[in-house]
């Protein structure tokens, strides 16, 4: 799981265009300016591709902090493991 969480951070930082040191659990859509709605869609697409999951609309809306992204993607990965 830890590897997957690191991979989420790598993808997030690569798309948003920020250094990994700038992102922690508290990083939010409101506080991190380069994270805009278009980048958000790109992040969602990449995560879906990377982990072979389909993220539901309500979850895409709820991913407003980096912590939430990890939790919600984690939820899908848990389901896959069942």
């Amino acid at each position: 799981m830890e590897n997957q969480m690191n991979r989420i951070k790598e993808i997030f930082c690569e798309i948003v265009g920020v250094d990994e040191s700038e992102v922690d659990d508290n990083t939010s859509y409101q506080s991190l300016e380069p994270w805009d709605s278009l980048k958000h869609l790109a992040i969602v697409s990449r995560l879906e591709e990377e982990f072979d999951i389909d993220i539901e609309m309500d979850d895409i809306i709820a991913m407003e902090t980096f912590k939430k992204i990890k939790e919600l993607v984690g939820k899908y990965l848990d389901k896959e493991g069942d």
Binding site: Q30, E33, S37, L38, L41, A42, V44, S45, M57, I61
Partner: protein, 500 residues
Amino acid sequence: MNVVDYFLENSQKLDKMCVAGTKETITYKELWERVNYLASYIHDKFGREKEILLLSDNNLFFILSYLAIMKSGNIVVLVESRITEKQLVSIIKRCSLSAIFTQEIYKKKVAAYENVFTETLLESLPEKGHDIESEIKDDDIAVIIFTSGSTGEKKGVILTHKNIRANTESIIEYQELTDKDRIEVALPFFYCFGASLLHTHLRVGGSMVLNKSIFLGSVIKEINEYKCTGFAGVPATYQILISRANFLEQKLPSIRYFAQAGGKLPNKFIAMITEAFSDKSFFVMYGATEATARLSYLEPHLVKKKLGSIGKGIPGVTLEVLNENDVQIKPGEVGEITAIGENIMKGYYKDTEETNRILKNRRYYTGDLATVDDDGFIYVVGRSKNIIKSAGYRISPNEIEDVILELEGVSACVVLGLPDEIMGEAVVAVVETKEPNEKFKDEIISECNRILPSYKVPKNIVFIKNMPLNSSRKIDRFQIKEMMMSVYKNGEIPLELKVK
């Protein structure tokens, strides 16, 4: 008449919601009071006819500041909120700003400047204003919108109080907007299409719900929750909703109409939407910041019959397609779309040369190429600046894009010309798809071969997962061209273009 007095002429005393929704809301009565408090503060501090920058997303701060600056007889300078610091500095240098109104979160971008105001000013204002001289001349400047030019350098479009009033009046008329209308706003107000939503709904005393979510799909919930009657978007808005939010399976019972402008939505998507929502009106429209916002619309009942057309000029606008000798073209010929009307801008900010190039005898030359049918309906075929010159032919990218867009698995397409020693320019297509592979590439080329003359068939296809979009949410052709040029220099074109 001051355009703010015009907007709120009939609605200033209403005790009904102007901005509805979950977070910030305001009634018309309160809006009018607060605009007046802020306007008298600005007037006392800076006088009149001063340029004041506004840097904000859609929220109450934007609406109050925008209206108060104009009401005080000053000029709003609008830029996109997520503008790069480099571009912002260049604009600030070009302008003579007296003050900057910025949302707190963007304050650091303008830290080096004086007279910066944020949301905290609104909280600290005295709950009382005084009458100010808000009367202006029709030709006084209300707003300067900095918009991306085709070259990358931003141009300042100067709009007068009269320009905004004229365009607002026309849009209300053809969309039949009333105080019963409530719009779900997902377009930024700093973009002319977004601004037109604000203007028209204020004037009729309708209401707005401002979408602030990170994901566009949330508009569906908000439309249902707040019973919105209208929704407006650019092509990307509808394409994202269709591909990511099951848009076509929704009922949206409160919705009366959808409006689309800001570029061509591929016909197959127009057909899908009108099919899925046969009980609602779908307005296909065309416009430009230089025309305040709107220039044409296609009457919703003609959408199927005239599929792909931008319709005809809106009330008050003479929209004509002219050839090189300024004569109206015959059906089937191609010419440039031109417009005359009170909504046409005063000119570009501090750029007489460019102003004189596109404004001649009160006529605005849009730079868009179009043809007309026997009934006078206009069909855009391309940008005059976009024209590809290959092997002695002048090729409009749109025709090729339309062929490729018809293919299953293609969600967007941009055709452009790249330097080629033999051809002058070689036709290359950048295709958005989820599954890039060599086989699909061959399929696209063979479909083009089947339908198009050989000189129009792309010499190469490059795939991309997500098209880059600009701040107006349009496909950023400029950036795609730059990306292509950078990979092209290194020799062979890759199968897939990766967005950096």
